[in-house]
């Protein structure tokens, strides 16, 4: 372990530091800014070129789709929704962890989020980009995809706002927009850092334009922090609504296995579960590649593992309760759908899902496994495989055997289905590589606030007689209006 100090154990008095390695403000700036400024490391090409190749495959598969039509996919009559929807739900879900880290943990005052929130938010944006491709391309007649938006047209035709599918268009596109704004607002002070350190004219101009002339004025920070807080407050219900709306694409249908009220919370928990797994995968690579083991510490990884354990258990509970309700409802179609899920032609997919999603995180009950880099990496990959299969199982197992046995069929993915799945990973990793190369990977301004010397009342706690937070101020010597040292 390259980290210089173990901060996963809380000392008897006080709290363990979030950042180790003895950073001050200047060395923190260096640690984050140098990867943006130095020559491209060879390791980066090792990730970027394969990603770019996969992105090329995405382009080819979409081009062929537009030329030939959705017949190139393995869709058939009962299974009209295949990989396109599975990939869409998967990618939207991945995005959710980024918003959880950036918004919900911010509202909960979880300061450890500062080391990972920038990268997690970037992940959200790229995941939403991948997600948005699929509803766009899967409609068959792509040239009329604009019908999804309420645009005045020569046919005097409008979208049906009573349909969850149109709710989805609004939820996901607004989610992408708000995430992008949240991310950019967070980036402004750090872009100003890169601008002020820039040695070349081009860098000064490009980073300068995006930094908007930020100069760290506290009169600006005042509005800035308020805007950030409100964006966090807005993103929190937004993210919960997005995957709830996605789940309603299924839940409002009458199909056994889809028509259930558990879907919104079950989808949200699964989304956060898979998203944290993806953050884990990315952070484990980035912290080594960019030598940030002391900023993204074992404690951050352990906290993420705990959230994966929690959400993994919630997902496992949802699988169990689905089975129970199918039996308890007394509805033979519902009972058949779930028996078919676990024992039918797609049983292999179901058991991959259960073993990856329910069993894998159970090892995180043990501290040793939460601190085991290798296991964290393997489990994060396994969990994302499992979560992809969860969406596959939900989509195909319910569709392929509906009410009439005469309609039954088996969905088999084709080469082009896999090409679009692999290609979407190419888009995601290409974007992430570019982000990690050209933008500060860690929210420097925010991380500086969790360093001990950022506290303007540092050391004052030692002379306090009354406990902090009791409402009684320790009498300051001079100025009466000194702020609370919370």
């Amino acid at each position: 372990m390259a980290q210089s100090q173990d901060n996963t154990q809380e000392p008897v008095a006080g709290r363990a530091p979030l950042i180790v390695g003895g950073y001050d403000f200047r060395s923190m700036t260096e640690a984050v800014a140098v990867p943006v400024e130095r020559k491209t490391p060879v390791g980066w090409w090792f990730f970027f070129l394969p990603s770019l190749a996969m992105l090329g495959l995405f382009g080819v598969s979409i081009g062929w789709l537009f030329w030939e039509g959705t017949g190139i996919w393995g869709l058939n009559n009962p299974v009209n929704w295949g990989f396109a929807i599975v990939n869409f739900v998967f990618w939207v879900g991945i995005g959710h962890a980024g918003t959880l880290i950036s918004a919900i943990l911010f509202l909960f005052r979880q300061k450890w989020r500062t080391s990972i929130n920038r990268a997690a938010e970037a992940m959200t944006i790229f995941a939403v980009m991948c997600a948005l491709v699929f509803p766009g391309i899967h409609v068959g007649r792509v040239w009329v995809a604009y019908w999804m938006f309420p645009l005045p047209n020569q046919m005097d035709m409008w979208p049906n706002f009573r349909s969850p599918l149109i709710w989805d268009v609004f939820a996901v596109s607004i989610y992408g927009t708000v995430s992008l704004m949240f991310w950019y607002v967070g980036l402004i002070p750090d872009l100003a850092t890169i601008r002020d350190r820039a040695k070349t004219r081009i860098r000064q101009i490009v980073y300068g334009i995006f930094a908007l002339g930020w100069r760290g004025s506290h009169r600006n920070w005042l509005h800035y922090e308020r805007a950030y807080l409100m964006l966090a407050g807005l993103a929190t219900p937004l993210v919960l609504s997005v995957h709830s709306v996605v789940s309603m694409d299924f839940a409002t249908a009458q199909l056994p296995g889809w028509h259930t009220t558990i879907f919104p919370p079950y989808f949200v928990a699964g989304a956060i579960f898979s998203g944290f797994a993806m953050v884990m995968t990315l952070m484990l690579i980035c912290r080594v590649l960019f030598k940030m083991e002391d900023i993204i510490t074992m404690r951050h990884l352990e906290n993420m593992a705990k959230i994966m354990l929690l959400t993994g258990c919630m997902v496992g509970y949802a699988y169990g309760i689905e089975m129970f309700i199918a039996w308890y409802s007394g509805n033979p179609y519902e009972q058949f759908a779930f028996a078919n899920r676990a024992l039918g032609p797609y049983a292999w997919a179901y058991w991959i899902m259960v073993s990856c999603n329910v069993l894998t995180p159970q090892l995180f009950w043990f501290k040793k496994m939460r601190n085991h880099i290798g296991w964290l990496f393997i489990s994060s990959i396994l969990i994302n495989i499992g979560m992809w299969f969860e969406r596959f199982v939900i989509v195909t197992s319910s569709l392929h055997r509906d009410f009439l046995p005469a309609n039954w069929d088996y969905y088999q993915a084709t080469f082009w289905d896999f090409a679009s799945l692999i290609g979407s990973f190419g888009l995601f990793f290409t974007m992430f590589c570019l982000f990690a190369r050209f933008l500060p990977l860690v929210a420097t301004a925010e991380v500086k606030t969790v360093l001990p010397e950022a506290d303007p009342h540092q050391g004052e706690e030692l002379v306090r007689v009354v406990p902090a937070g009791s409402g009684v101020e320790p009498a300051p010597q001079a100025a009466p209006a000194g702020g609370g040292g919370s």
């Binding site: 002339g213 050391g459 702020g483």
Partner: protein, 202 residues
């Protein structure tokens, strides 16, 4: 106060200097100095830091941001417009009876109304923050100070502007040194010809 203080082009007419820029070594020293500057009665001044120093607005005597009221207004506008759009589409624009259900099916309009409300509020928060902070402002006299580049790294600064009624070239600089500033300098405003030549990036 607040908004107008940084209105450099108007306020600076007739002044040869922007003011005094002082750097402090620690957040604690800056906090104490801000309290002292506030108590000395200065009004056209600012603290400039690489990260938001917790509670500094109290030490500076700043009022809370009014941004939440704007966000409430834009959020409600977004939700209202969203609801109006859907109602118009289903009652007047494209009235389709589906499964014998009424045209004004308001519960089905809730998700899109909510999403558009969030969009309105988020746009209000971001664009409102830009407007309140006058961003983008690519030119500012402070950028003329070499030392000031540290403001996005580790520099904790106080700048007192020359058009503050209490400002005095010598006394204000001495006052800031007395508060524990490690570096104090006078920042020029710069002439217009040089400004236009300086180009895009600050």
């Amino acid at each position: 106060m607040g908004l107008m203080t940084l209105d450099v082009p108007e306020a600076s007419a007739g002044y040869s200097h922007y003011g005094v820029l002082a750097r402090f070594e620690t957040a604690k020293a800056l906090y104490r100095a801000c309290e002292a500057v506030r108590d000395a009665g200065y009004s056209k001044w600012d603290a400039l830091t690489p990260f938001p120093v917790h509670g500094l607005e109290k030490a500076m005597g700043l009022k809370p941001s009014k941004l939440p009221f704007l966000v409430l207004a834009t959020g409600l506008s977004g939700a209202g417009l969203g609801f109006a759009l859907q109602s118009w589409v289903h009652i007047l624009g494209y009235p389709l009876v589906i499964s014998g259900k009424p045209l004004f099916t308001w519960p089905a309009f809730v998700p899109v109304t909510f999403e558009l409300g969030v969009l309105g509020a988020a746009l209000g928060a971001v664009l409102g923050m830009f407007a309140f902070n006058k961003l983008p402002t690519y030119h500012h006299p402070l950028f003329r100070s070499k030392n000031f580049a540290r403001v996005t790294d580790d520099g904790l600064f106080i700048a007192i502007e020359a058009w503050d009624p209490k400002y005095d070239d010598r006394d204000t600089a001495e006052f800031l040194s007395g508060l524990g500033a490690v570096e104090v300098e006078h920042v020029p405003i710069g002439d217009p010809a040089e400004d236009s030549e300086a180009g895009g990036a600050a």
